[in-house]
């Protein structure tokens, strides 16, 4: 596991385009970047911005950043934040980086990012069916029907504060049921597989 510590050696391997390290780099940061972009720009071109963040990050890593290798996650967060702001300010995408984007395509199809590929409507609905009727009602109103929280609370005859608690609990149960279906520890298994490959 030491091999994947964010240290100077890791950055050297990324600069050298070591395939295993590059795969780890992409797998590790794909979900955080995607979550971040999706949270800030739910209707935006999420995958395009994720790719922009990766390209911009590699370009800066090639140029010697970050000074402190331990701060690599924070550094990626900063780049992601910057590109999201740029997208919000309608500056548009500017592919000024000269990184080959195909470097990321394979990485995305491997390993942990598969969790996202598994997200499909029928599976989500299958998991939601396993929730209690109250949790399911709250989830359906807020996420599927996209009702305003105030209206949903009124319809469910609860306060907004209570609705937040119900939603919070429902989301936790949704994740638990999801893990039961998908198989818990999916990402750890993937990383272990990668480590084995590396040892070979």
């Amino acid at each position: 596991m030491d091999h994947f510590n964010f240290d100077a050696d890791y950055l050297v391997r990324v600069r050298g385009r070591d395939p295993v390290t590059l795969a780890h780099f992409c797998d590790f940061f794909y979900l955080p970047i995607r979550n971040h972009v999706k949270h800030k720009l739910p209707r935006g071109p999420v995958e395009d911005i994720v790719q922009d963040v990766f390209m911009a990050a590699l370009r800066r890593i090639d140029a010697g950043a970050p000074e402190d290798p331990c701060k690599l996650p924070g550094y990626l967060f900063g780049i992601s934040n910057h590109l999201i702001s740029r997208s919000i300010n309608s500056a548009g995408r500017q592919n000024v980086v000269d990184i080959d984007p195909t470097l990321f395509a394979d990485a995305r199809d491997r390993a942990d990012v598969q969790v996202i590929k598994g997200l499909n409507k029928s599976l989500v609905q299958r998991v939601v069916k396993k929730l209690s009727s109250r949790d399911r009602d709250a989830i359906t109103r807020v996420f599927f029907l996209q009702e305003e929280r105030a209206a949903a609370a009124r319809e469910m005859n609860v306060s907004q504060e209570r609705l937040r608690t119900i939603l919070c609990r429902a989301l936790k149960r949704f994740r638990m049921e999801w893990d039961n279906i998908q198989g818990a520890g999916h990402s750890k298994k993937t990383l272990s597989a990668l480590e084995k490959n590396l040892n070979l």
């Binding site: 999706k38 949270h39 900063g78 780049i79 919070c168």
Partner: protein, 226 residues
Amino acid sequence: MNESTRDTKIEMNIGELENINPMSHQQATQMNAVEMYVLSELTPEEELRFEAHYFGCEECARAVAVEEALSEVAPPKTQPWWRRLAFPVLIPAEAALLVVVSFQNVHSIPTMRQQLAQLSEPQANTVIMAREVEKGIEQGESIKTPSVSVEFLLPEGAAWPFYRVDIQGAKLPISQVIPAPEGMRVSLHVLSERLGHGRFNVVVHGLAKADVKDGPQVGQYQFNTN
């Protein structure tokens, strides 16, 4: 802005975030940061610290991705089909309906109510007694009602099953075939506007059948209107 200036600006921007104190995993768990983040219930500062945290925490990043899946499968918030039709179809239809209803409320319904009220009111009637010609004519009746009952007595011995009554001198020709009355009094109902004003002769013919056009004259009467 040249490349290096822009890069410097970006580096400064990134540098600021790099130094943010990320939320610890324990803090994130205690405050249900994943769920609160998905529900957009964190304060801006908490949100920033949690984002900085999950950039280095696989478990939280995955948890957010799974819970965000609910938003991803939600259908885009579109109007239902009947709402989408509202502008091209329903709004013109509603406008047309409004015009029709307004016209009915303002004009048609009051007019109909007025007509109905008129029809429902008891109609006043003027009774004019026609006298036999040989008895001479009386002073004319003043007619202010929409209809008039012209009455006369059949001569003694008249026993026809039907009579044809012609009123001569009316504005419009009046000729009615009536069955024999129970007594000798005949009452003929005519519209005032059809009758007009002046002197009128009433000529009565006896008919053997209702569909027979002519028969012997059984009497002649007169009356005046003013």
